[in-house]
């Protein structure tokens, strides 16, 4: 009696497991499915930044934070504006108070007065995610929570991210951070919700001087693409081999 009960239980459990195993659990990834389309592969987003045009008003940072629900008063931001003041003694004085959110309203850099006659060059550099063609941050994710879309934007899956922080360490540009509310990795999305609806990203729209522009590299009539192809543009940290897709006009060797 007792042995037949055990047998019954055994069969019931094995049968139960076997029956509830869907066939799809055994499915392997087929390369044919790879092309299953998302996004639009006629689009490859790229960013163009004209350093000379930036006046350091910081409206881009303000717009980004409010558009993308990045906590306004915490020291985190998807984009920021750096100030470089180079003096005759060869020193670079660099700052980015509050990520440049409230603009640059004083000539003091980190509390230091720099006499105008000492300045050899000074300018503002907007920074954001470079949406690399070979994103190091994506490669290191242990759970597949960050990825590159077909139109070239690197996104984070907030529902899947475990918040381990590997990607934050892996990004050579320091554009990723830990979202204090969602407790996941956070980064610039080029305002994916806007650009996929034909709008400009919040920072591009906010910039009064056209210092920030977004373009489609696969469209050769796009003015941004035209500039990138025909003008002298530079990228940050090319030596890392990540193929960054944020191009700068008027880049200086001191900007890293």
């Amino acid at each position: 009696m007792s042995s037949s009960r055990r047998k019954f239980l055994k069969t019931a459990i094995t049968g139960g497991i076997a029956a509830s195993l869907p066939l799809s659990a055994f499915k392997l990834l087929s390369p044919a499915e790879v092309q299953a389309s998302i996004g639009d592969d006629k689009v490859r987003w790229a960013f163009l930044i004209d350093i000379q045009k930036c006046v350091g008003c910081g409206f881009c940072v303000k717009a980004c934070k409010l558009e993308n629900e990045v906590p306004y008063d915490l020291p985190v931001s998807r984009t920021w504006v750096e100030r470089y003041v180079v003096t005759k003694d060869g020193k670079s004085h660099i700052d980015s108070p509050e990520a440049g959110r409230d603009g640059y309203t004083s000539a003091k850099v980190r509390g230091d007065d720099i006499p105008p006659e000492e300045i050899t060059k000074a300018f503002f550099v907007p920074k954001l995610c470079n949406q690399c063609e070979k994103p190091a941050c994506v490669q290191v994710c242990p759970v597949g929570a960050t990825y590159q879309t077909l139109d070239g934007v690197v996104l984070v899956d907030r529902k899947w991210c475990i918040g381990c922080g590997y990607c934050i360490m892996a990004c050579p540009y320091g554009v990723r951070f830990f979202h204090p509310v969602y407790k996941t990795a956070e980064k610039c999305t080029f305002c994916y919700h806007r650009i996929t609806k034909g709008l400009k990203s919040a920072c591009v729209q906010a910039c009064p001087f056209g210092a920030r522009q977004l373009g489609n590299l696969k469209d050769h009539d796009d003015p941004v693409t035209h500039t990138i192809m025909t003008q002298r543009v530079g990228v940050l940290k090319a030596e890392y081999g990540t193929k960054p897709q944020a191009y700068y006009i008027g880049l200086d060797e001191r900007v890293r």
Binding site: V55, L66, L150, D157
Partner: protein
């Protein structure tokens, strides 16, 4: 050849089946290579829709025209036409339903973002009409004298 071989094997098969079962239930069905390749495109496809569903908050100048026509036309013919209304007034979101009113910021800091003099020759900043905030009517709001929507010096 009976129990000592089959029992562990059954355990192994059971463990693998359990693993696959758990995987099938926990991993969303839309997980797969949805990008260009496995290295960069292995993810949950629904995540893209999550990002597309983010609410648009900055509506742009044309949205304001419908109700603040006067302000928009005034602004369009001014040196400030390059500045989006929402830069100074904050995102519209669902204004005028929510929020009913947008921020009216009369602080000097708002204008000084662009107009505080900074001696930076390699930047467009040095070409802006500039003032020294400590010298130029320091205790008054800029909007007391200048019209923020059309700061025409001749019209003053």
């Amino acid at each position: 050849m009976k129990n000592h071989a089959w029992r562990p094997l059954a355990v192994v098969i059971g463990a693998v089946a359990l693993l696959l079962l758990v995987r099938a239930n926990v991993v969303p069905s839309d997980f797969g290579v949805n990008g260009e390749n496995f290295t960069y495109g292995f993810h949950r496809k629904g995540s893209i829709d999550d990002w597309k569903a983010v609410q648009i908050k900055y509506k742009g100048r044309e949205y304001c025209r419908e109700c603040h026509e006067e302000k928009v036309t005034e602004n369009e013919s001014s040196p400030h036409k390059v500045i989006e209304c929402e830069n100074c007034h904050g995102p519209a979101i669902e204004h005028p339903d929510n929020p009913e009113k947008l921020v009216v910021d009369r602080s000097r800091g708002l204008c000084l973002r662009c107009h505080a003099f900074l001696p930076y020759p390699q930047s467009h900043r040095s070409e802006m009409p500039a003032i020294d905030p400590d010298e130029h009517n320091p205790d008054q709001a800029c909007a007391d004298c200048h019209n923020p929507h059309n700061p025409n010096l001749e019209a003053m």
